[in-house]
């Protein structure tokens, strides 16, 4: 069918070209009525050939569309797509579970670290109070102020080791001096 239409288009184009040539020859031989009659006719015939070609293109496009749709909605294609979708869903579910496990572990670890930080802070504060009271009695007021400043700094950094080291240094110094 496509071949027939294509040949028809070629024939119509050829006819239009023949008419154009005939019109041209008529003009050369001094018959101006001939081109005046043939040229518009050749133009319309050429246009109809292109229209036919356009119709052929549309027809082919619709045919291809129909074929693709028919293939897409075939039973085996639908079943295959469903299997692929279920496999994908299964894979996604596995990945989601892994991520959720990681999330639960992360949240648990976060809560534990918060508990630990709060506990560290509480004991650091208690240590600060105790060391501060101890130093107030052991060192002179002038040096106590500077020591307490350092102690506060260590307390805000939650660094009990530094507080203990400071206490040890201050007590050693005061025992040497005293």
């Amino acid at each position: 069918m496509t071949k027939i239409i294509l040949y028809s288009v070629l024939w119509v184009c050829s006819l239009a070209m023949v008419l154009l040539v005939a019109g041209f020859i008529g003009w050369r031989f001094g018959w101006p009525e001939l081109p005046a009659c043939l040229y518009p006719l050749a133009g319309r015939i050429m246009l109809s050939a292109f229209l036919l070609l356009l119709l052929l293109g549309c027809g082919l496009f619709l045919q291809a569309l129909y074929r693709e749709l028919a293939v897409y909605f075939r039973w085996d294609a639908v079943a295959l797509r469903r299997v692929a979708m279920l496999q994908r869903l299964q894979y996604d579910a596995r990945q989601r579970v892994l991520l959720e496990r990681t999330q639960i572990h992360y949240l648990y670890e976060l809560k534990r670290q918060r508990l630990l930080a709060a506990d560290n802070k509480k004991h650091s504060r208690a240590l600060f109070e105790a060391v501060s009271a101890e130093l107030r009695q052991s060192v002179e007021p002038d040096s106590f102020k500077s020591l307490q400043k350092h102690l506060k700094q260590h307390r805000s950094q939650v660094n009990p080791r530094a507080m203990l080291a400071l206490r040890e240094r201050a007590l050693c110094r005061s025992s040497i001096a005293g």
Binding site: W75, A79, L80, R112, L115, L116, D119, H123, L127
Partner: protein, 178 residues
């Protein structure tokens, strides 16, 4: 004219002969073609049936997996919550340990009480973070021994005639770097 007629009828005869031959060829192969077409339809139906069966199986597995994963995640959440509670209780018991040290050793410096508590907490965190079960058990045993030493010191201090200034066993435990 008769020559043309003869030539035309010869050509038409040849064309008809070829058409007849073509038709006979098609008729001869008709059963094979029909059998092949039938086999193709049957194969397609078998494929669709197989795919549908696979899809049903996958859907079933997916539903089972969803339920299993939901249960696993719920169990994990409960386990994490319990772990967090255990950790909190451990921290509270370490606080109580520190308090009992203070009560039983009246002149115990806060720095020493803090160091003992800090050591116990470090052991606890090591135990908690350890991934290897054997190592975890080992650290847990160390923590137990450490707490036992503290308890023995407290009991010793209560039973002693003279007031004891320091928990010797506990400090020896820390000194040994256990």
């Amino acid at each position: 004219m008769s020559v043309f007629n003869r030539w035309l009828s010869g050509a038409l005869g040849l064309w008809r002969g070829k058409r007849d031959e073509n038709l006979r060829w098609h008729l001869a192969r008709q059963p094979d073609v029909a059998a092949l077409r039938q086999a193709r339809v049957l194969a397609e139906q078998a494929l669709v049936a197989e795919l549908k069966k696979q899809a049903r199986q996958l859907a079933h597995e997916l539903a089972m997996g969803e339920t299993r994963h939901g249960n696993e995640l719920a169990m994990l959440k409960i386990q994490c919550k319990q772990d967090l509670k255990d950790y909190q209780q451990y921290l509270q018991s370490l606080d109580k340990l520190k308090l009992s040290l203070r009560e039983n050793f009246a002149h115990l410096p806060e720095a020493v009480a803090f160091t003992i508590h800090h050591h116990a907490k470090q052991l606890l965190n090591r135990m908690w973070d350890e991934q290897d079960p054997e190592e975890k058990l080992k650290v847990e045993m160390q923590l137990l021994q450490f707490m036992t030493a503290v308890h023995e010191d407290s009991v010793g201090s209560l039973n002693a005639d003279k007031p004891v200034s320091l928990p010797q066993k506990t400090l020896a435990f820390i000194d040994n770097g256990v």
